[in-house]
Structure formats: structure tokens, C-alpha cells
């Protein structure tokens, strides 16, 4: 009753207009998002049989989940590797894009060109292109031969050996090496993030740095005391974007596996169950990390 009273006269008319404006979204959301969403949840508890003219669903409790976890030989291990990859790569992408945006925010010749190049992957590595890139055997074999036949001592190899033999945190080093070896993937995936960070960096007033400089603040200190807090909210945005983007990539092996189960084995129930397991884990991960990060975000106003 109270709510109704609020919207009278012009306000009511505007409210109606507002609903008319977003009506396409509401319709589409209900028809093409909520309905399939619920149906897919229901399907994950069913055995789905698709015939020529109709499909039937038999409720069979958690058999599909049992299938995903216990019967299917590859699913669980794929899930584990994919989620580990997601965590590590998302972290690497965030650090990389922050670093690059700091550099691109400086003034130097050819900045526009460099920015254009860094943004190119957003366009070029979308959709089908990503899958093509990752299974290009020719380049992979070429790299292998180059690596095998190179007799000179490479600096990175030497560094890796030294770091390995120190014996401290070998596992962590291995992960770092892996990321460095795959820096190409990281650079490809961080186009949007760089732009978002850059737009944030440009909103920080110059006067703040000047004041800090006069007070005797070094560049390193002002990075952590001014830059970092000012764009901390963008870390949250970028983090969520990166994790979600990672799930939608076409070279994601879990998604690949699900598609195989669905299209080739025609096991819709199991495919739904697998999707839901993956989705719930990712959402939980985004939720928890997002919540923790939002505690640390600093808002200027």
C-alpha cells in the first residue's frame, strides 16, 4: 500500500514508461533465461530421452550427479585442473593488466599504437578464434623443435634451474614458470581489463600526486598509497569479469566435455548435472572472493 502511494501522477506515468522500456528485457529474461534455467536444473535430476517428436523426462534423483562424480572417468579431474587454471590465470591476468595499464598511462611516443595493439586481442581472440589458436599443431611442433635444437643457454632456463634448486616453494615456482611460459594467453585475455584500469587511472586527479610529491613521497609510495586505493573498486570489477570470461572461453575443457556428453552421447541429464556442478563451483568462488575483495575496496566519495 505504501509503495503504491509513492507512485502517483507524473511519477506513476514515468514508472509505467520505465516498465515499457525494460519490457523486452523482462520478457526475454523470463522466456529465455529463467525458464531454461529452471528446466536445466530439473533436467539434471532426470533421465531425458529425446525422441523424434517429443522428449520425456523421468525423475531419477541424483543419478546424474552420481554419474558425473563417480562413473565418468574424466569429469572430476577435468574439473579440478580447470578450476586451478582459472584461479591462477585470473590472478595472473589481473596483475598483468594492472601493470600494463600503469605503463600505458605514462606519456611516451607511440602510446596510441601500443594501446591499439593491446586491445586487438579483444576482437581477434573471441569466439572460434581461441579454439583455433590453442590447437594449432604446426606452431606447437615448431616451438618444440626450436626449443630442442637451441643449444645456447637461455637465461630463463638458467633462472628456472637456480630457483628450482633453492628448494623453497618449488610448487609455487612451477606455477609462476607456467604462467611466464604462457604469457601469450595472459596477454590475449587482458584487453578489456587493461582498458578498464586505464579509464580508472585517468580519473585520479593529478593534484594528488603533486601534493604527495611535494610532501616527499616517492613514486613507489604514491603507487600504493594513491593509485592502488583509488582504483581498488576496479579490481573487483575486473576480477569478476575475468573469472566469468574464463568460464565462457571456447577452449575451456569442462565446457568441451559437457558439449561432448550432450551432443555426441545425447545424455542431456548428465550434461545438465555437469554444467550445474561447474556453475555452482564458479558462482561460489566468485561470490566468496568478491565478498572478501569488496571488504578491502576503498571508496573515495
Amino acid at each position: 500500500m505504501n509503495k503504491r502511494k509513492k507512485y502517483v501522477g507524473l511519477e506513476k506515468r514515468k514508472a509505467v514508461a520505465g516498465y515499457l522500456f525494460i519490457a523486452p528485457f523482462i520478457l526475454g529474461f523470463l522466456l529465455f533465461m529463467v525458464k531454461p534455467f529452471i528446466q536445466s536444473l530439473y533436467m539434471s535430476f532426470c533421465e531425458v530421452e529425446v525422441g523424434a517428436a517429443n522428449f520425456t523426462m523421468h525423475f531419477n534423483k541424483v543419478a546424474n550427479y552420481y554419474f558425473a562424480f563417480r562413473t565418468d572417468p574424466k569429469y572430476v579431474s577435468l574439473l579440478g585442473t580447470e578450476i586451478a587454471r582459472m584461479v591462477i590465470y585470473s590472478l595472473a591476468i589481473i596483475v598483468f593488466s594492472f601493470f600494463i595499464s600503469l605503463i600505458l598511462n605514462q606519456k611516451f611516443k607511440g602510446r596510441a599504437l601500443v594501446r591499439a595493439v593491446f586491445f586487438l586481442p579483444v576482437i581477434l581472440s573471441s569466439g572460434v578464434m581461441l579454439g583455433l589458436e590453442s590447437n594449432n599443431q604446426l606452431i606447437a611442433t615448431l616451438q618444440q623443435t626450436v626449443e630442442d635444437t637451441t643449444t645456447g643457454i637461455s637465461v630463463t632456463d638458467a633462472l628456472q634451474t637456480i630457483l628450482r634448486t633453492t628448494g623453497v616453494g618449488v610448487k609455487a615456482f612451477e606455477k609462476v614458470f607456467e604462467i611466464i611460459d604462457n604469457i601469450y594467453d595472459v596477454a590475449l585475455a587482458s584487453g578489456i581489463q587493461i582498458i578498464i584500469f586505464l579509464s580508472g587511472l585517468q580519473t585520479i586527479p593529478k593534484s594528488m600526486y603533486e601534493a604527495a610529491d611535494i610532501e616527499g613521497c616517492t613514486a613507489w609510495e604514491s603507487l600504493w598509497k594513491i593509485t592502488f586505493p583509488s582504483i581498488s573498486s576496479l579490481f573487483l570489477v575486473n576480477w569478476i569479469y575475468t573469472v566469468v570470461d574464463f568460464c565462457m572461453r571456447s577452449d575451456n575443457e569442462v565446457i568441451d566435455k559437457i558439449q561432448t556428453v550432450m551432443i555426441e552421447n545425447l545424455n542431456y541429464g548428465a550434461a545438465s548435472a555437469m554444467t550445474w556442478i561447474y556453475f555452482l563451483i564458479v558462482i561460489a568462488f566468485v561470490g566468496i572472493t568478491g565478498f572478501i575483495m569488496s571488504k578491502g575496496v576503498y571508496y573515495y566519495d
Partner: protein, 334 residues
């Protein structure tokens, strides 16, 4: 005169350096070192990003001999454009290109038109449950389309509106492989990354001051007319860039194309099957089953990829500003 001048400057630099007890020189060296380090880093990273494309370009002009010739690295000995001719034939390039163009254009237009309306609605009106619906938009951004893909698949395989079609035709409609469902979904803002477009457009419209709109209302302009006449011209930059994104992402998209547009030959689809089609093509010509060498099939794949991205790269070269500035101008915040 000039020589004299530069002499004075030079002397004064060392003079100043002496006076500052070496601080100035140190600072100058540091600055130069930073510039050099930055140049090496950026050059390396740019090369890293561009290298696959350059590599593809060089490979696409090679004959099969050159691919196996260890001396040939990037410049082909036997320069040829046969790869392009062959790839174009396998991919059915002309027809696929037109199909891709038509579908990407129309889909992008439909999506952006609807997303603009919805984004404007979210930015400019107050209505009950607004927060809830906006949370739904965020949900659309967050839910990967793969989650609902399997039930969408069934939804359109046995398409029906409350059983009406079944009553008339006796069976449900099979819309799989048909273009229609995708247009329907685009009309409902559920296409590729549409949540993101709504969000960006909303952010943009929110930053426009209220005055113009109110003036239009006072002068007796209706809500929709105000939107079309006053606000649309204001929102041109963000709409253009969202349109560009929608077009480009649709152009290279594999997921939705595979699901809905299976029967239409699209560039992004034919490239995914390119290697298999190459085998079939050669088999058809030779009459016997032959295996295509990995190197050659990858060469053809590289050529096909180049042909797929060439229009997009050209578009990017001309509209680079719109692509990049849209995101910065929308001022993403949380």
C-alpha cells in the same frame, strides 16, 4: 649562434650537475633507463601479440615445399596465392561472407536497438522493483550461456507456446538450425553478451544531465519521443561502439552460431570445420583417400583464419577509437 647556445646549455647541465652533487646526472640516467626498459618491454609484448598474425600472413603465401623447407622461415621462396583460392573454394567464401555479414549486421542492429531501449529505461526511470530487475541484468552477465545451453537446445527443438502449436500441427515445431530463435532471443536481450551492452549503455545515459530531458517534457514531448529525439543523439558514441562490439563478436562467435545457425553456412562455422573439409575436398578431387600433411592443413587453417579476421581487422583499423573509448567513457564502477 645556435652552437653557442647549445654550448651554454651543455655547460650549464654539467654545472648544475656539479652543484647538485651528481643528483641531476643520476636522475637523467634513471629516466633514460626507464624509457629504454619500457620500450623493450612494450615492444616485446606487442610483438608477442602481433606475431601469430604476422606468422599466419607469411605462412599463407607459402607453397607446400616451403613449409617443409627448413631454410624458409618467414619469407616464402615460391610465392603463391593458391592457398587463398583453395581456402575460398573450400569455405565457400563468397556465400559464407554474405551470410555472415547479413546475420552479424541484423543481429547486431536488433540487439543494440533493444539494449539501448532497456539501458535507457534502467538509467532514466524510477519504477518499483528496479533494483531487482537490474540485479537480473547482472545475473545475465554472470551466468555463462553454456549453463542453459542444453535446455535451450531442447526448448527450440520442441518449440511450443503453451501447447498452441501442438494443437494445430499435431507436433511441436522444430526450430533447431533455424535463424528465428536467435532473433527472438536477441529481441529479448538474451543474445551474446547483451547484459554487458545494457550495463554499458545504462552507465552512459546515467551520466547525462537531467535538464535537457526535463525541458523536453515541459515543452510537451512524450516519453518515447524524448528518447528518440533528445537522448538518442546524445548517446551516439556509446551506441556506435556497442554496435561495433556486437558486430565483431557475432562475426567470430562459435557458440550461438553452432547452436542456432547450424544450417546456414557462416564463416565462423566453416573455419571450425576447415581441416575436415580440406580432407574431403582433396579426396573428392583425387578420387582416393589421402591424408593431408599436418603442416599443409595448418597452412590452410592459417589462411582461412586470416580470411575470417581480415574484415574485422579492417574495421578495427578505422574504428579503433570507438572501440577503446566506449569503455573508458562509460565509467565502469561498482
Amino acid at each position: 649562434m645556435t652552437k653557442n647556445n647549445s654550448n651554454i646549455v651543455k655547460v650549464s647541465f654539467w654545472e648544475r650537475n656539479r652543484k647538485s652533487e651528481g643528483y641531476l646526472l643520476k636522475k637523467k640516467i634513471m629516466e633514460i633507463a626507464v624509457v629504454i626498459a619500457r620500450f623493450i618491454l612494450l615492444f616485446g609484448l606487442c610483438f608477442l601479440i602481433l606475431q601469430p598474425i604476422l606468422n599466419k600472413i607469411s605462412v599463407s603465401f607459402m607453397t607446400e615445399d616451403d613449409l617443409f623447407n627448413p631454410i624458409v622461415v618467414s619469407i616464402p621462396v615460391h610465392f603463391t596465392t593458391d592457398n587463398y583460392v583453395l581456402t575460398a573454394e573450400i569455405m565457400n567464401y563468397g556465400k559464407s561472407f554474405v551470410n555472415s555479414l547479413v546475420i552479424s549486421l541484423t543481429i547486431a542492429i536488433v540487439q543494440i536497438a533493444v539494449c539501448t531501449i532497456v539501458g535507457y529505461g534502467f538509467a532514466r526511470f524510477n519504477f518499483p522493483l528496479k533494483k531487482f530487475w537490474f540485479a537480473c541484468v547482472m545475473l545475465v552477465i554472470l551466468i555463462p550461456p553454456q549453463v542453459i545451453s542444453n535446455s535451450l537446445y531442447i526448448h527450440f527443438r520442441f518449440f511450443d507456446i503453451f501447447g498452441i502449436i501442438k494443437l494445430i500441427r499435431g507436433e511441436a515445431l522444430n526450430l533447431r538450425g533455424n535463424v528465428l530463435p536467435y532473433y527472438l532471443m536477441s529481441l529479448g536481450c538474451m543474445g551474446l553478451k547483451n547484459g554487458l551492452y545494457i550495463y554499458m549503455i545504462r552507465q552512459f545515459f546515467r551520466n547525462i544531465p537531467n535538464d535537457m530531458e526535463e525541458a523536453a517534457y515541459v515543452d510537451g514531448c512524450g516519453t518515447f519521443k524524448t528518447f528518440v529525439r533528445i537522448m538518442l543523439p546524445e548517446g551516439k558514441p556509446i551506441i556506435t561502439s556497442c554496435f561495433l562490439f556486437a558486430f565483431v563478436w557475432q562475426w567470430t562467435d562459435g557458440f550461438y552460431s553452432k547452436m542456432f545457425l547450424g544450417s546456414t553456412s557462416l564463416l565462423s562455422m566453416s573455419i571450425a570445420r576447415l581441416v575436415d573439409s580440406l580432407g574431403a575436398y582433396i579426396q573428392r578431387i583425387m578420387g582416393i583417400k589421402t591424408t593431408v600433411s599436418v603442416a599443409y592443413s595448418n597452412c590452410i587453417l592459417a589462411t582461412g583464419t586470416l580470411m575470417l579476421v581480415a574484415p574485422v581487422i579492417i574495421l578495427y583499423l578505422f574504428a579503433q577509437r570507438q572501440f577503446v573509448e566506449s569503455i573508458s567513457s562509460s565509467g565502469i564502477k561498482m
